[in-house]
């Protein structure tokens, strides 16, 4: 009987952590496994109980019976959830499940006792499989016994409560105390949360000396404040103050220049921004692409593993990619590499080629191909059939294409160094074109840290001007009537909207192309709206990839289908392209220009003032004339204005009939015209109101005159 009591005590003691923290129990269980001792335990499977040496046979069953008493109900309950799980699996195993759970509990109890024994447990573990079957049978028998005896035991249990041993009372007290402490601790925690220090906006002097950790802390604080601004703000500072502070801190902490940080802040939400910046600090995992012209992925993986390379498939989306975790040999110099069995290529570089989906026997152009990774991928997919033109304007980098192509056994290629923009004239039409345009590289900051500080507005402008020209050239060199193709894939390793969606949008307005699905399963959708820009609704077909969400380089992929070979004439002259480019960013480039534009604005204002004065003078002169006369003048003005505003749409209609496909261009211009109309309407309104004013004043004067006369 004493034996039993001891068991119970232990049970109570060890229950304690269970209630407070489940993970604790888990740990102790594991300990139990490793410390499991005595010959008996060794023969039992993991989830069976250890019973002390003395308790055998009948005693064993009694111990278990105790477990089901009312006293233990409280802590047995949570386990029942588990038994339900068992139930769902098999109805027959109801009792077994419960049995096992109970034993788990008991096991927990026995741990304290056993902790000093250090017999090897491995034997027990090993024998698990062989013995488990027998044990199940045993447990069945046990459970039957339990049911029989449960009634009588509940009575016994009550008796026990009355005459508790001193040690039991102590445990009760201990329990109560622990509860109280827990409660206090919880309250304290709540207090801490409630009374958390609100972030204080720093003075300028404070900015001078700060460690990186301080800055990091402050970035976090400001993010917290900005996330619940109304509550946590400092009344004297506006949101822009906070954002400026944050921008400054981010620039300092990650060593970006203000311009790029501004751009990134426009692009990402604050929390996402920090993730992006963090991800941009870390290099992406090294990935290689199997050259299917020479080998298979399985064979390559085997060969590399034999050389001590630790690798894995890159994911379900690619059948040729492998991720290299670690390697004892340089990946760029193994005999397999030299024999052209693989190429080192970022995972994101697979995507544009997958989007392009080259078919065998097609004519395909890779406009900016160096160093030939994507182009050789295309050749591999085409299985060396058809023709592939790999072009890159840079003669120094084209050698890499030559090397890679010969190494990888690409034989259907022509390698050239033409300027991509002149491709329309140089070469016959293609079925598909891949344009991996040169960009600022804001998606691959991890590879090239210099991007952080070297880019400004002008660089971006240069990039997207070039990208637009290249994209138009790429579209022009595609044959829309191709039976299999007529596709253009545009990709950049930049995350900026100016270089991606804006460029596509530009092309959509100027060529007979439409956006189509890329066929890539993952990636975030392209922006249809971004700040003041409103892009084509199909821009959602484009795909964006970020280092922090997809663990590959920041990337943008869009696929266009050309539906007509005719080039809309209305707006394609190069001058207009340049104009459009300048319009987009004209004001921002230089402060001088800003000043100039301000000067222009002033001039405009002055002119307006003059105009309004004239208008004022006009009615004054015509005061003496009849009222109808003035109104006629105003009407005639209106008519003139309407003529001005109506005449362009008529022109547009003619154009529309000429080029039915170029609807969007017309639309955009109609919008512009509407704006113009609105402006002019407002002007006419102003005139009208002023005229009205004069009318009313005239009326009043007339009335006064009448009154005087009377």
């Amino acid at each position: 009987m004493k034996e039993l009591r001891k068991m119970k005590k232990d049970a109570i003691l060890t229950k304690e952590p269970k209630q407070s923290d489940k993970s604790n129990v888990h740990v102790t269980k594991q300990k139990g496994l490793s410390n499991g001792s005595t010959s008996k335990v060794q023969k039992r499977p993991k989830n069976h109980v250890y019973y002390p040496k003395d308790s055998e046979g009948e005693d064993e069953s009694k111990v278990k019976v105790k477990e089901f008493s009312d006293d233990n109900n409280r802590w047995l309950k949570p386990k029942k959830v588990k038994t339900e799980l068992f139930d769902s699996d098999e109805e027959d195993s109801d009792e077994e499940g419960q049995e096992i759970d109970d034993e788990d509990q008991l096991k927990v109890t026995s741990l304290n006792k056993l902790s000093d024994d250090d017999d090897d447990d491995s034997v027990g573990d090993d024998e698990f499989d062989s013995d488990s079957m027998k044990e199940e049978d045993e447990s069945d028998v046990d459970s039957v016994k339990e049911e029989d005896k449960s009634d009588s035991d509940s009575i016994k249990e009550e008796d026990d409560d009355d005459d508790m041993l001193p040690i039991e009372k102590q445990t009760k007290k201990l329990k109560a105390k622990q509860k109280r402490e827990q409660k206090l601790a919880d309250e304290e925690l709540k207090l801490n949360i409630a009374g958390q220090e609100v972030f204080q906006f720093p003075n300028d002097a404070e900015n001078e000396q700060m460690t990186l950790q301080d800055i990091q802390q402050r970035i976090r604080d400001v993010i917290v404040v900005l996330s619940d601004f109304n509550k946590l703000r400092n009344d004297t500072h506006s949101r822009t103050d906070y954002i400026e502070l944050m921008q400054k801190d981010l620039c300092n902490y990650y060593s970006y220049n203000t311009f790029l940080m501004e751009k990134l802040m426009e692009l990402f939400s604050l929390s996402e921004l920090v993730e992006f910046l963090e991800a941009s600090e870390v290099e992406r995992p090294l990935t290689i692409r199997t050259n299917t012209l020479k080998t298979r992925r399985r064979d390559l993986a085997q060969a590399l593993i034999n050389r001590g390379v630790n690798l894995d498939p890159v994911g379900k989306w690619s059948k040729v990619g492998l991720v290299v975790y670690s390697s004892q040999v340089p990946m760029g110099a193994t005999p397999e590499y030299l024999a052209g069995h693989y190429i080192i290529q970022g995972a994101s570089s697979f995507l544009p080629v997958m989007a392009l989906a080259p078919q065998e026997n097609e004519k395909i152009l890779d406009m900016c191909s160096a160093p030939g990774g994507k182009a050789s991928h295309i050749a591999a997919i085409m299985k060396n059939t058809g023709t592939l033109v790999a072009n890159d304007v840079n003669k120094d980098r084209i050698t890499a294409v030559v090397g890679n192509f010969h190494r990888m056994g690409v034989i259907n290629s022509t390698i050239s160094t033409l300027d991509g923009r002149k491709f329309t004239n140089a070469i016959t039409v293609f079925d598909r074109v891949l344009l991996d345009a040169p960009c600022t590289g804001t998606g691959v900051i991890a590879k090239d840290q210099s991007v952080k500080t070297s880019k400004d507005q002008q660089d971006i402008q240069r990039c997207y001007t070039l990208q637009r020209e290249l994209l138009l050239a790429a579209i022009d060199s595609v044959n829309a009537k191709s039976s299999t193709g007529g596709y253009i894939v545009y990709s950049t390793c930049s995350v900026l909207v100016e270089e991606n969606e804006a460029v596509i949008d530009f092309a959509l307005k100027r060529r007979n192309v439409s956006l189509v699905q890329t066929g890539l399963e993952f990636g975030t959708e392209g922006f249809t709206t971004y700040r003041q820009h409103r892009f084509h609704p199909n821009m959602k077909f484009a795909r964006r990839y970020y280092p922090h969400t997809h663990n590959m380089d920041g990337f943008f992929v869009a696929k266009l289908k050309k539906f007509s070979n005719t080039i809309p004439k209305s707006t394609t002259t190069e001058e207009e392209i340049e104009e459009a480019v300048q319009k987009d960013e004209g004001n921002k480039i230089n402060e001088k220009k800003v000043k100039q534009s301000k000067g222009l604005k002033r001039k405009h204002e002055q002119e307006e003032v003059v105009k309004s004065k004239k208008i004022k003078k006009l009615p004054a002169k015509k005061q003496k004339l009849e009222k109808q006369g003035t109104s006629e003048v105003v009407k005639s003005k209106k008519v003139k204005l309407e003529k001005v505003s109506k005449s362009p749409p008529k022109m547009k209609k003619r154009r529309e009939s000429e080029m039915s496909n170029d609807v969007e261009v017309v639309k955009s211009e109609e919008i512009k015209l509407k704006k113009k109309k609105d402006l002019k309407k407002s002007e006419t309104k102003n005139v009208a109101t002023k005229v009205k004013h004069t009318f009313t004043s005239n009326k009043i004067k007339n009335k006064k005159m009448f009154q005087k006369k009377r």
């Binding site: 060969a303 760029g332 110099a333 005999p335 397999e336 030299l338 024999a339 052209g340 004519k363 058809g386 023709t387 033109v389 003669k395 084209i398 050698t399 890499a400 294409v401 030559v402 090397g403 192509f405 010969h406 190494r407 056994g409 034989i411 259907n412 290629s413 022509t414 390698i415 050239s416 160094t417 033409l418 140089a426 070469i427 016959t428």
Partner: protein, 180 residues
């Protein structure tokens, strides 16, 4: 892009026959279309006619490479095979040599092959005949010239050179900029 003159064609084919023997026929008469040799700036390219049509539309100043480069004619009008030709030499090779893993790396750095690194060699290789070098796992590594005939190899001691190095795939890294 121009056709090879008859003289140069002869020189080229003589050279190739040292390595692939009568298999040259297989290069010219192919079931999958017409292939031909073309010359540009003394480089000889082996290319399908379909690809050639596209290449001809590119101005020659900007044309870097078409199809596979086999090698170049030197100023003294001799033909020198480049490593880039290995794609066609390896499958058709008549004389083969397999090197042990220990020698593999040395050969890839441009060294000659000694008897100690010799794994296997095909029979009836004659002295100074072209020979294609493989690793023991049948990976083509490059090519060279047999310094001894097969029968002499058996008797040679471990330090004698069996094969003179001509080109190896290590050049793709070592001298990427002047592959052509």
């Amino acid at each position: 892009m121009k056709r090879l003159s008859e003289e140069r064609t002869k020189i080229l084919f003589e050279k190739l026959s040292q390595y692939i023997g009568s298999n040259i026929k297989l290069l010219i008469e192919r079931p999958d279309g017409l292939y031909c040799f073309r010359e540009q700036r003394d480089r000889v390219y082996y290319v399908a006619e379909k690809v050639l049509k596209v290449a001809e539309s590119i101005p020659s100043d900007h044309l870097i490479s078409v199809g596979t480069c086999f090698g170049k004619f030197t100023k003294t009008n001799k033909f020198r095979l480049h490593i880039t030709a290995l794609n066609y030499l390896a499958p058709y090779a008549q004389n083969k040599l397999w090197v042990k893993p220990s020698m593999e790396q040395q050969f890839l750095y441009g060294h000659n092959i000694t008897k100690s690194g010799l794994g296997r060699i095909s029979e009836s290789v004659e002295k100074f005949h072209g020979i294609v070098v493989f690793s023991m796992s049948d990976l083509p590594l490059g090519f060279g010239v047999a310094a001894r005939s097969t029968t002499d190899c058996r008797l040679a001691d471990s330090l004698t050179v069996i094969c003179f190095h001509q080109a190896d795939i290590g050049e793709y890294i070592r001298s990427e900029s002047d592959l052509l």
